[in-house]
């Protein structure tokens, strides 16, 4: 049995490889004929097959093998990669993903999956059909890596069958085999487990003279005749580990004479010597060999070339092969090097680290406080240094969790796929434009916004972007454009999904909302409020329910998910020009820089990123605004006394201060008694009991051991706005605030 952790690693690796593969396939589908990309796809398939073989996952091996064989042909230029083939590979990729999924869960694929796989294999194998013979020979002489021909065994007409019941294996190991930690003889021993080795000839011809010989390079080769009941795939899979830099030919029993002939031609050693070896192996009889060599000379372009010429030619052939092999190995090494710079860490360990850093910050705050009370200058100095270091540790610990939204996790790239599939399904031609993929975001958040974002993307494609005819009629290009954009703004990350479609139909939404009883008839709503109605539960404006959306479940779930991440979502729309959905999320969920304020005897923390400025209340306060608005340098600023809001008691202070906070486009003032300065805040979640309280986002523990509540600015502002609108919406709109 395979230890679970290895299997786990295998699954993780496969998933990564599949992601790379998908990415590459999507590029290829856009008619991009870059051999590097084809190679990348091939390598991914090849590695998956190799490791799956190691775990004995036969269905995966079988399936990948078919895909790999076709890719191999694409690589050698015999089959050209086009959109049809790419689409087939994308299906193959999906199937493979499913298989790997089953491996991860330890479940067995359903019968339907199996038959789907068979169909795909058949479709793939269609590409292996008629191809010019002798292509293997060509690929060697054209200076490429020796390519393993497995699934396709070309046969010539009127070919003599060689009367042996034995397999014949020709192996020439690459120079790096030893350095890669492998011993050619271990393969021989493995082979012996599949059958019995009748005869083995070790080929030592390639060992150079003493002076040139590198004792750590492998120069060996084997000619093996082998009797076995195993199938070709089983034998072939033994060599998965050395495939890339070795020459491996496997001829099944009763192969055609022409195949032996080709083998002899491909091997680096001289023909006569090889012939002798084959006879010695018992693979061929003397007569058969003579026949083959005769056919060889008849078929060859120049009959009976002198051996010298053959040798010269072989020299010419082998040097590019070696160069190609070296280049390839170097490339593999380089890849390994860059991989080695990354370390896989269990996410739990990271969380633990963050927790510890959180505790460290709290403990540090306590020490600071004591130092200040003790009034020892030296102690205060050293605690100051300490807290600066702790701050650095905090920043780097948090940075560990930050991932690029479009980078490592391919969140954005995955949308390329979604857009491709959905546009196909809908019959719309839609381009996806991604920007800001390198914006960093906490890993947990990245993971959790995947689904809501997918939903928004689908929605935009289904409802937003019009059919091509309608677009043309409206004077827009037939091809729709969907944009995904991410950027940082005021301590939060903003993700935008925008389309250049028809925009939202205000009237329709309003009518629907009235119909559903979400809004009272005759209510006076702003455009924005109307648009945001679509986030209400059970709301759908689509005339027809499609496969994708329109069932009225979704947007409310999206909003709930975003809220669960302490984020907000809103929507902008311009009639006939498209709409933009904007998700705003906090950068991190664990530790923030806070700004501490005092109200009465209690302390509150406001996220520092949202604080714009602090002003003294009396300087700006005036009678106008009914105690609700300030005139901040000509700007109308709604404000709220935290004392009133949280219903605190305690002595009133002489000079109240206003903390001006900003969230998105909104600004508001919070009136507090005391400004206490910056404070590193470890956010602790509030219990379920406080779930209904919108204006508090959590609590934190101060150095003194006291508890301070963290003000949830967006929540508080929402509440202020809500109450304000309920009160005197008319007067407010006239004054043009928020």
């Amino acid at each position: 049995m395979i230890p679970d952790e290895y299997l786990q690693t295998f699954v993780v690796e496969c998933k990564e490889l599949l992601e790379h593969m998908e990415e590459a396939l999507l590029i290829v589908e856009q008619a991009e004929q870059d051999p590097e990309i084809i190679n990348a796809i091939f390598r991914a398939a090849h590695t998956i097959k190799g490791s799956a073989g190691m775990f004995g996952l036969d269905p995966v091996v079988e399936f990948t093998h078919a895909a790999e064989s076709v890719l191999d042909r694409v690589r050698s230029g015999e089959v050209s990669m086009n959109a049809v083939l790419a689409a087939l590979f994308i299906e193959a990729h999906d199937h493979l993903k499913e298989l790997i999924g089953h491996v991860a869960e330890g479940s067995h694929p359903a019968a339907a999956t199996d038959s789907q796989g068979k169909i795909l294999i058949a479709q793939l194998e269609a590409y292996l059909g008629e191809t010019p013979t002798e292509q293997a020979g060509n690929s060697v002489s054209s200076g490429e890596m020796p390519v393993i021909q497995t699934a396709n065994v070309e046969r010539e007409h009127s070919d003599v069958v060689v009367g042996t019941d034995l397999w014949h294996l020709s192996l020439r190991f690459g120079p790096e085999v030893f350095r890669n930690g492998m011993d050619p003889f271990s393969f021989v021993r493995c082979l012996a487990s599949l059958g019995s080795i009748e005869e083995l000839v070790t080929i030592i011809d390639a060992i150079p003279a003493a002076a040139q010989m590198d004792p750590e390079s492998c120069y060996l080769g084997f000619e093996i005749s082998f009797s076995s009941e195993a199938d070709k795939l089983a034998i072939d899979s033994l060599f998965n580990f050395v495939r890339s830099d070795c020459f491996i030919r496997i001829l099944p029993p009763r192969s055609k004479a022409s195949e032996y002939q080709r083998l002899i031609r491909e091997l680096p050693e001289q023909e006569m010597r090889l012939g002798e070896i084959l006879v010695k192996c018992g693979t061929l009889t003397r007569e058969e060999l003579d026949n083959i060599l005769r056919i060889q000379s008849q078929h060859g372009d120049e009959p009976q070339r002198p051996i010298g010429e053959v040798l010269v030619e072989q020299q010419m052939v082998s040097s590019p092969v070696v160069e190609a092999a070296l280049a390839k190995q170097k490339q593999v090494k380089d890849n390994k090097k860059s991989e080695a710079q990354l370390i896989r860490v269990d996410a739990e360990k990271l969380d633990e680290l963050i927790n510890l850093v959180g505790e460290l910050i709290i403990a540090g705050a306590g020490t600071n406080l004591i130092a200040r009370r003790a009034g020892m200058a030296e102690l205060m100095e050293s605690t100051a240094t300490l807290s600066r270091l702790v701050e650095d540790v905090r920043d780097s610990a948090l940075a560990l969790r930050m991932v690029q939204i479009g980078g490592t996790f391919n969140r954005f790239t995955r949308f390329t796929r979604v857009v491709r599939d959905v546009s196909k399904e809908l019959g719309k031609d839609i381009d996806l434009v991604i920007s800001g993929g390198d914006t960093e975001l906490d890993k947990t958040v990245v993971e959790k916004i995947g689904d809501p974002l997918t939903h928004l993307v689908r929605n935009s494609m289904d409802h937003g972007i019009e059919a091509a005819e309608l677009r043309l009629a409206r004077g827009k290009p037939a091809k729709g454009t969907l944009r995904l954009n991410a950027y940082h703004d005021a301590g939060s990350i903003v993700i935008e999904v925008s389309d250049d479609g028809g925009g939202l139909n205000k009237e329709k939404i309003l009518n629907k909302a009235i119909e559903r009883g979400l809004v009272a008839e005759g209510a006076n709503l702003s455009d924005k409020e109307i648009y945001n109605l679509i986030f209400e539960a059970g709301f759908s404006t689509a005339d027809t329910v499609s496969n994708l959306s329109g069932r009225g479940v979704g947007m409310d779930v999206v909003r709930r998910n975003i809220h669960a991440l302490r984020g907000t979502i809103d929507l902008d729309s311009v009639d006939g020009q498209g709409s933009t959905t904007r998700i705003r999320l906090p950068l991190t969920l664990a530790i923030i820089d806070g700004f501490m304020v005092g109200v009465g005897n209690a302390s509150y923390v406001i996220p520092l990123d949202m604080v714009v400025e602090c002003v003294e209340l009396s300087a700006w306060e005036s009678g106008e605004g009914g105690g609700q608005y300030l005139n901040l340098r000509g700007e109308v600023l709604p404000y709220r006394r935290l004392r009133d809001h949280f219903d605190r008691e305690g002595d009133l202070v002489q000079r109240e201060n206003v903390v001006v906070v900003r969230y998105g486009e909104h600004k508001a003032g919070l009136v507090v008694d005391k400004l206490m300065g910056e404070f590193q805040t470890v956010i602790k979640p509030l219990g379920k009991l406080f779930k209904g309280e919108k204006s508090i986002g959590g609590f934190t523990i101060l150095g003194s051991g006291e508890v301070a509540l963290i003000v949830d600015v967006p929540g508080l502002m929402g509440q202020i706005e809500h109450e304000k609108e309920a009160g005197e919406s008319v007067s407010m709109r006239r004054s043009g605030a928020v």
Binding site: F178, F185, T202, I207, A209, A210, P215, E216, Y219
Partner: protein, 107 residues
């Protein structure tokens, strides 16, 4: 670890002890070539080889060929069981042409 012991300077008889593998191939190559260069007839005692792999075998082939090129006599003697096994597996016993002591494998 591998080591080359010069048992008798005059007749050129050295013994390889320990590993004859990829890990020791680099140093052994130089030692073997040096030993061969100072004598006309070299005898390599393999009785104390505890481990041998393909790299080691390749090295033996190399030194054998080098001896042939420079017209010197080289023989291997006292093959340990691991050496015998590998010679058997590789079918190279004929190439080296040394008399081998066939040990009957325990049944």
């Amino acid at each position: 670890m591998a080591n080359v012991k010069n048992k008798n300077q005059q007749s050129g008889r050295i013994a390889i002890t320990g590993e004859l593998t990829i890990y020791t191939a680099l140093e052994l190559k130089d030692q073997l070539l040096a030993a061969l260069s100072v004598t006309e007839a070299l005898e390599l005692d393999l009785s104390e080889v505890g481990e041998i792999d393909a790299a080691g075998l390749q090295l033996l082939v190399m030194i054998k060929q080098q001896a042939a090129v420079s017209g010197k006599a080289l023989s291997f003697t006292g093959h340990s069981s691991v050496v015998l096994d590998l010679l058997d597996l590789s079918g190279l016993a004929g190439f080296f042409g040394d008399p081998l002591l066939i040990v009957r494998k325990p049944l």
